[in-house]
Symmetry: C2
Subunit: 398 residues, 2 copies
C-alpha cells in the first residue's frame, strides 16, 4: 500500500536557510502542489467562516483544514462521502487536511487545554456537557451538539477521514494536559504511539491516495519528545506533526519545537498543529516547520480584531476602537487584499458598530490574506537566501 | 436649478407593452444608466447585508437603496460626507437611491404599519422605546439605537440626503396607518403635500446633480390617490413614488397602483416603494411601475428562505427543511448565480444547520440574483414584445 501513498504525495526541499533549520519545499498532493512553508486557514465545518472558496483561492490559499470531529457530527462523514467527499461538498478543489478528531474530543473535556497550548481564553468548552472515557480501545465522548454518546477509535478516525477524502490526514491521538506531569505524559505518549500504529495499519488496508501523518507527542519533556520523534518517524508516515501539550506559554512552545525537530528526518514535511500567530509562524519556520494551521484569522475577525503590521500591538487592531471612526486608510497600508484595496477603516468600523455581517467577512478575508502574504514573503526570502533579514524585519532582534 | 437636475437625469421609455401600462425605460443618472424596470437591493446601513459590492455588481445589481434614518444615526451623514459621500464610503460606484427617513420614523412608532403594508410579521419595532410628535414643522422621534431624541423636517431630510449624495433622493413624508381611515389619511396627505413642496424648495436652493422624487399618498382611496398624483406631478420632480398606506393585502396594493398610475405622466419614472415579492414585481410592472426596492432577498436569507421558481410554495424554499439534507442539486435549477453554480442544497442546508455565516451569505446572493434575473427577463420581454407571455409563464392565468 505504501507505494500508492508515495505515488500520490511527494515532498521536495527546494531551499535551505544557512543559519537555521528553516526551509522551503514543494509538497505534491492529489489536488495539486503546496509551496511550503504554508499556512492553512481552518474550515471547521466545511467552511472557512464567512469566506467563499473563490475568494480564498483568489487570495492565495493553498490548502484548508477540516475538522473531523465537527464534520462527523454534522452533517456526518457518510453524507459527505455520498456527496463526493469534502472537496466537492465544500467546493474546494485544492488540497485539504483533516485532523483526527482527537484534539476536539479532548479539548472539549479538559476545556482549558487547547487554550493553554495556544494562549487563548477558554471558549464554549467549559459550558458543555462533556464526558469522556479514555480506554486503550479509544475514547467515548459526548456530542457538543446534543450530548449524545459517540466513540472514536484510531480505526474509526481513519475510516471517517477516508470518507471525507482529504489529501492529508492525521493519526488519532490522546491530548494530555500540560498539568498532567511527566508520568502521565509518558503513559499517554505510549498509548498515542500504539494508536498511531493502529491508524497506520488500518490506513494501509485500503488503497488510498491520502497521505497519513504521524503526530509526535511527549509534552515539554526533551527525552519524551526525542523518543516520540524517533518512534513516529520509524513508521512509514508521509509526514509528521508536532502535537500534544506544547507548554504553558510561547517560549515553551518554541522550546518544544527546538527539542523535537533535530530528531525528525529532513525529507518529511513537518506540521506544527494549531499554531498561527504572526510571531509563531516566523519562529516556527525558523525552527524548521513547513505547515501551520490556526483558526486565528477568522476567530480574531469575529472578536473585532484585524491583523496589522505592528509588533508593539501584538499585530492586533481593534476595529471598534473609536480612533478608527474617521480613519480613511485601509486596515493595513500596502495590503493587497480585496478588503484593503476597497474599504476604509472608517467603513469597517461602521460595519462592526452596526453589527453587520459584512464586517466580519471583510476582516476575516484581510486576516487570512495577511497571514498568507506573510508566508509568501517568508518562502520567497528562503528561495532568495534572505530569511534572516525578513525575520529581523518583522520581529526585530529577539 | 431645475436645469442642473435635468442635465444629470433623464428618463427615456424604450418599449411599451401593447396590452398593459408595462414599459421598459432607460434612466440616466450621474453614476450611469438604469435599465428599467429595475429591482434595487436594500443596503440599509451602507451594506446589502452580507454581500460585497463586487458580487452585487457581478450579479447585475444596477442600483442599491440606502436608508437615511439608519445612516443619519450611525455613522452619521456628516461623517459619510467627509468620507466622500455614500458611494465612496460603501465602495459602490453605481447609482444609489436614498429614502427620506420618513418611513422608518413612522414605522418604528406604529410598528405594525410597515408590516401591514408588506404583509410581514412585526420585527423589532414593537420592542423599541419609540415616541413621536408629528407637527407641521416635522417629526420628533427617538433613536432605535440609544433612545436619544431627534427631529426630522422636510428640509433636514433633504440636507441629510444631500450629504449622503445618492443619485435619486426622496421627499420626506408622513406615513399614516391603514387603520387611520379616510379623514386622517386625507389630512396626512395634505401635510405630505406641503412637506413635498418644502423638500423641493430646499432642494432647489442648492445646485445638485441629485434627482428628487415626489411621493404620491392617499391610502386606499381613489379620489385621494388621484388628487395626490395630480398635485405631486404638478411640481417639478424628476420622478414619482407610490407610497403611504398601500392597503391591508396584496390585492388592495394592486388596486392602489391601478388607481394611481393613470394619473401619472408617462415621462416620469415610477417607483413602488418597499415592494419586491416575485408576484408583486410582475404585477407592478404590468401596472406601469419602473422601480422597485425591498429588503426581502436578504431578509428571507436570514430567515432560512431561498427564492425558487415555484409559485405553489409562494416562491419560498426553507433551506433547513430535512428534504434538502441529501439534495445534490442547486437551490434553483438553471440559476446562473455563483451560489447555484458552485454549491448544492445539501451543503447550504449543512451551513444553516451549523449556523455558519456563509449560509446566509450564499442564500442572500442567490435571492438578490433571483430577483435581478427575473427583472432582466421582464425587461427583455418588454423589448421583444412578449411581456404577457412571460407574465403568464410565471404567474399563470390570474
Amino acid at each position: 500500500m505504501k507505494e500508492t501513498l508515495t505515488a500520490a504525495m511527494s515532498f521536495t526541499i527546494v531551499a535551505q536557510d544557512a543559519t537555521s533549520p528553516a526551509r522551503a519545499g514543494l509538497l505534491q498532493t492529489p489536488h495539486g502542489p503546496l509551496a511550503t512553508p504554508v499556512f492553512m486557514p481552518v474550515g471547521t465545518r466545511a467552511t472557512v467562516k464567512s469566506l467563499s472558496p473563490q475568494e480564498l483561492k483568489a487570495h492565495g490559499t493553498q490548502i484548508v483544514l477540516g475538522n473531523t470531529y465537527h464534520l462527523y457530527l454534522q452533517p456526518g462523514h457518510e453524507l459527505i462521502q455520498r456527496h463526493g467527499g469534502l472537496h466537492r461538498f465544500m467546493a474546494w478543489d485544492k488540497p485539504i487536511l483533516t485532523d483526527s478528531g482527537g484534539f476536539q474530543v479532548f479539548s472539549l473535556v479538559h476545556g482549558g487545554i487547547a487554550n493553554e497550548i495556544k494562549g487563548r481564553r477558554p471558549l464554549q468548552a467549559q459550558r458543555l456537557p462533556s464526558m469522556v472515557k479514555v480506554k486503550e480501545e479509544g475514547v467515548v465522548f459526548r456530542s457538543y451538539l446534543d450530548g449524545s454518546f459517540h466513540t472514536f477509535t484510531p480505526e474509526r478516525s481513519i475510516l471517517i477521514q477516508h470518507a471525507l477524502g482529504a489529501d492529508l490526514i492525521l493519526c488519532f491521538d490522546e491530548l494530555p494536559s500540560f498539568h498532567d506531569g511527566y508520568e502521565y505524559t509518558a503513559q499517554s505518549m505510549e498509548r498515542t504511539h500504539r494508536w498511531a500504529k493502529r491508524c497506520l495499519d488500518y490506513h494501509q488496508q485500503a488503497p488510498s491516495s491520502q497521505a497519513l501523518f504521524g503526530i509526535v507527542h511527549g509534552g515539554v519533556f526533551p527525552n519524551l519528545r526525542k523518543e516520540s520523534a524517533e518512534y513516529i518517524t520509524s513508521l512509514p508516515f508521509e509526514g509528521v506533526c508536532i502535537g500534544g501539550s506544547l507548554g504553558g506559554e510561547k517560549a515553551q512552545m518554541y522550546e518544544v519545537v527546538d527539542m523535537t525537530v533535530p530528531h525528525l528526518p529532513s525529507h518529511l514535511p513537518r506540521h506544527l498543529l494549531g499554531v498561527g500567530d504572526v510571531d509563531d509562524l516566523l519562529e516556527g519556520v525558523k525552527r524548521g516547520i513547513d505547515l501551520f494551521d490556526c483558526v486565528s484569522p477568522t476567530r480574531l475577525a469575529r472578536h473585532k480584531t484585524a491583523l496589522i503590521r505592528d509588533p508593539a500591538r501584538r499585530w492586533h487592531l481593534n476595529v471598534t476602537n473609536a480612533a478608527l471612526r474617521e480613519d480613511d486608510g485601509p486596515l493595513q497600508e500596502g495590503c493587497p487584499c480585496q478588503t484593503c484595496q476597497t474599504f476604509s477603516r472608517a467603513y469597517i468600523h461602521h460595519l462592526y458598530r452596526s453589527k453587520e455581517i459584512l464586517g466580519i467577512r471583510l476582516v476575516s478575508l484581510h486576516n487570512v490574506a495577511f497571514l498568507l502574504n506573510l508566508m509568501e514573503k517568508v518562502r520567497n526570502s528562503l528561495l532568495e537566501n534572505r530569511f534572516p533579514a525578513l525575520y529581523q524585519e518583522w520581529l526585530g532582534s529577539r
